[in-house]
Amino acid sequence: MSEVIIDVKDLVVQFPTLRALDGVSVQISRGEVVAVIGPSGSGKSTFLRCINQLETPTSGHIFFEGKDVTDPKNDINKIRQRMGMVFQQFNLFPHMTILQNLTLAPMKLQHKSKEQAEAKAMELLKRVGLDDRAQNYPTQLSGGQKQRIAIVRALCMEPDVMLFDEPTSALDPEMVGEVLEVMRDLAKENMTMVVVTHEMGFAKEVASRVIFMENGHIIEENEPKQFFESPENQRLKDFLNKVL
């Protein structure tokens, strides 16, 4: 097994009326594609958002490339530059062109020159087939195009890990495919990915491991074939029966 890149230890998130995560531990190795599935309210998004500290855990630790993300002494902004994040609602910056969306962080945070940042952005845009959209504004794009741009925006920082928070859940059905295809290509290039998703087909086909969460616990995890063909836990069986 290759090097562990994300090491989550005994993660707990307590909201005022809800224990969103109740002692979650998981290790993710470089190059893995981990799909996290589960019913809504199971804590899977909270888990993902803890990894880059958009959510602050109540207790527990997350080590990313050996550094404790939850330790205030470690500069979280530096750590986040190594982790790309893609949101359900895209969250592109509406007041900037696509190209400006893609080059803002590399220029301001990695101090790349405008030419360098734009060259990199255009190269990635070409790969997702949207290089003709560089000068457009986000409102001029379809949902699927926006999400592909959002993925490119994260990739422009050349992260070691990509976190996906239900990337296709806000899309019209006919646009899901184009986004999954970009993610599939990314997986082929050995990008480490953690994907919270409802796309069972994607999990089955692309993931190297699937995690099932319910009520803030990891109930079952396995490689996709075993996971989908011979689930052990009764609750996972019920869940799969409902969604498949």
Binding site: L54, T56, N77, R80, F87, T97, A154
Partner: protein, 247 residues
Amino acid sequence: MFLMFESFKNDFYRNFVKNDRYIYLVKGLGVTLKVTFFALIVGLVIGILIATIRSTHDTTHTTKYRGPMHHFLQILLSIGNFLCNIYLTVIRGTPSTVQLMIIYFVIFGSVSIDKSIVAICAFGINSGAYVAEIIRGGIMSIDKGQFEAGRSLGFGYISTMRYIIIPQAFKNVLPALGNEMIVLLKETSIAGYIALEDLTMGANIIRGQTYSAFMPLFAAAFIYLAIVMLLSTGVKKLENNSRANER
């Protein structure tokens, strides 16, 4: 018909031309514009400062303990927020005329100071309270996802505000800020309470000399109206420019 025109001409002559009385209006207009302009700047500075303190406090006061320095800043922020709240309550809860008079007769009561500076302070402090809430509303109106997207890329709190939140918030508040500017311009007409010779006061002085109310007061009203219309057009243009790129 001819007689009416003749009497109008006479009135006009008596009120504006004779003894160069139009000078009262010109000088008054100058004072009004000067006070409005500088009060606007004072108001913007105060408003931005307070909006920053208040919205930073609102968005971060629930975050977890992240070391002593962070804790210290949080306490400082809470005190700042408390003081801002007092300022907003007092300024928005009392008439601006009373505020102007308190500043002139009480606070600056024992020192001799240029009245227009007093007026700038008073109107600036007053306007600041409204500007603060306008800007804070603008910041709060930006979707939380924008902030998270900025942070997830590795931007700190301040950079996220600067590159992502503020530019969007500014566009949203532009109409309200323009409106505040117009309100401020008209509000300065109470400067006569501290005997500052602004446009309204100028018109009133002419009225006192000629004993005719119609001409000078309508002239003042017309000038205010013209400036307000000019400002409205300007704000509209600015608004269109800043939104053009989103279509």
